[in-house]
């Protein structure tokens, strides 16, 4: 009995010690420290947008010699919005527009945002180099990728296609690229067959398709351009009998449909009052065209960047998408739309 008591006493002491450590740690750095360090602009979100934000952050810090710091994380579009709507970041990178439930979270936390498309990306469907198929219709793509599809041979897609075992590769379900592709091809975001090889790392998809004669996969145009020698990119026929291949031109002029998508940054509207954040966002927008080209994306027309720079200056909050991931939007269409902060109210069209 005494020994048992001793044991209990020992355990209690250990717990108290841990608690004391935790308590003495509590008033420590984090908040007090943030005020001593340089002002840091915090960016998090999509890994698709990461290369652009990284280049902007790098250029901006070089320009002001480290007086303002910028950090960029890549916890994914969804993960980025979660932190953004908790007020933990100034800017959220996103490879799809903000969705209704994320708008709701942000609104509940009193976070409003300025939506700024920074570039276009062309989702590219790729096959093995030896595969003679050069184009597919969206309907054919849907027959392959829709939830529950059992197609496992190219011939089943179209009798004219070769007799090859089909193996599918794609991004993981947490990715904005996955959201966009499923919406564009299958008609419902996040609805896709599950027997494919998912990877958060697009290079794994490149590798998978490049080494698999019957392979098919999809990712952003930048990855195709770096691997043109190893893969074929399919031209996509939206249903009008005129297939269009992905390229800088076809994405920029809006003919590569429906797999062209804008990629965004969302800026906390209150944070835009701070001169450092405002300066950074202006730097980002005025250099976005160049950065897009350097990182493998397609720049928006110059007048679009001007309009978005103005919106940032005036802190015009809201999304032009109304909480839905719309497919095949052109910039002109986007610019003409009303901005909303709550889904449901003043839903466009």
């Amino acid at each position: 009995m005494r020994k048992l008591l001793l044991g209990v006493a020992g355990a209690a002491t250990a717990v108290t010690a841990l608690a004391i450590t935790a308590i003495t740690l509590q008033p420590a750095p984090a908040e007090a420290q943030a005020s001593r360090g340089a002002f840091t602009i915090l960016i998090d979100g999509s890994s698709t947008v990461f290369p652009m934000s990284e280049a902007a952050a790098e250029g901006f810090q070089a320009q002001n010699q480290g007086r303002v710091r910028v950090t960029v994380g890549e916890s994914g579009t969804g993960g980025g919005f979660r932190r953004f709507c908790r007020g933990e970041t100034h800017i959220s990178d996103a490879s799809r527009p903000i969705l209704a439930r994320e708008m709701e979270t942000c609104r509940a936390a009193g976070v409003s945002y300025v939506e700024i498309p920074v570039a276009f990306d062309g989702l590219t469907v790729v096959t093995h180099q030896s595969n003679p198929v050069r184009s597919m219709t969206v309907a054919e793509l849907r027959s392959v990728w829709r939830a529950g599809s059992t197609i496992n041979n190219w011939r089943q897609i179209n009798p004219a296609f070769p007799d090859l075992r089909l193996s599918l590769f794609g991004p993981g379900t947490a990715s904005g690229t996955f959201d966009y592709f499923t919406e564009a091809v299958n008609g419902t975001a996040k609805s896709q067959r599950t027997d494919y090889t998912p990877s958060e790392d697009d290079n794994v998809i490149v590798q998978g398709v490049a080494t698999n004669p019957g392979g098919m996969g999809y990712f952003g145009l930048a990855y195709y351009e770096e691997n043109q020698g190893r893969l074929n990119a399919l031209a996509i026929d939206p249903g009008n009998g005129r297939p269009v291949g992905p390229s800088t031109e076809t994405v920029a002029n809006g003919t590569y449909q429906p797999l062209s998508r804008p990629i965004f940054i969302y800026v906390n509207a209150a944070a835009l009052r701070r001169p450092q954040v405002q300066q950074f966002v202006q730097y980002y927008i005025s250099n976005a065209g160049r950065i897009a080209r350097e990182t493998g994306y397609i720049s928006l027309p110059a007048n679009a960047y001007q309009t978005y720079a103005q919106r940032a200056t005036q802190r015009q909050a809201g999304t032009a998408f109304g909480g839905r991931n719309e497919i095949g939007m052109t910039v002109t269409e986007l610019l003409g739309r009303p901005l909303v902060l709550a889904s449901g109210t003043a839903a466009p069209r």
Partner: protein, 378 residues
Amino acid sequence: MSVADVPVRQDLTARPPGLAARHFKSHSFVIWGILATLIGLGTLVALVSELWVDGGHRINWDFFWSFPSSNPEDAGILSAWVGSLLVILTTAFFAIPLGVLSGLYLEEYAPKNPITSVIEIAVNNLAGVPSIIFGLLALGLFVQGLALGQSILVAGLTLALLILPVIIVATREAVRSVPQEIRQAALSVGATKWQATQHHVLPYAMPGVVTGIIIGISRAIGETAPLILIGGLTFVAFLPITQPNQPLSYTIGEVDQLGSPIDPDAMERITVSNPATLSLPDGNVVELAAGQSMEVPSGTYVDTMSSWSDAIASWMPWSWSGQSFTVMPIQMFNWTSRPEAEFREAAAAAGLVLLAITLLLNGAAIWLRYRLRRSIKW
């Protein structure tokens, strides 16, 4: 049974039956053993040489002293290795004393009863818990619960929790291997329990304890998942520590996570040691000469150059531990997933550096163990 009944082998030089088979078994065991070793070793050599072929040419002075960059040729690991170093220092600071003390207590002092058994089982199980679970715990407890932010301190604490069981188990093993006679001898000449532990048990157990610590640290240095979960960043182009005469900016007063003042009405008197530009919250800009002071509202942004005392202050643990960070594995992870092949070369080079650090740590462990073993005389 008498001796005569035992059958006597007539010819002692004759080979006993089944000897060839037994020899065969014995030799083939050696062959299997060598094969198994070669497979393990071969894989390691193949991995390292592939990393070397891919990234060897990237390892130079600039690679260590450059920040990450969107231009793969300019990309370096400065913020990553400094981040890793500071995180590991923090980890060691918390994990070593806690782990060694717990291990000693559990082995030497704890009474044998159901509660200690439960604690033992719990500790052993903790050693096998996937690291992402520790990340989840840290996100809830340190980042959100205790509001410590996405800081080096939180990263260090998370990894400390992760390797605590490893250190505890190693310490216990080492303490248990000290012969009971040593303790009895010390106690019998009148030493207290603590004296016996301090002068005899602990020094003899030290080689094992040190090994445990270093295995734990080597594991911590390669962890990615829990750190990404608690908000480890990918692009960080500044260091949490600074030198004199560098651009230095800061906000006056307590601020929230996004850098906005918590109490906008608070005033503070500041004195600047170098010429400074003050941006007041109302939009006015004031220039201060070196040594001037002024009463300013909370939220004022100060742009100046760092003095010696600023630099020294930034090297203090309570200063850098609150900063945001990146670490080597996170940097590698990012580079492997970029479209440009040059980034994968940088990733391979970073991998080599990480491997070298791990080897160095393990080498240090072996050397320390050897030194400590030699000093043991019993």
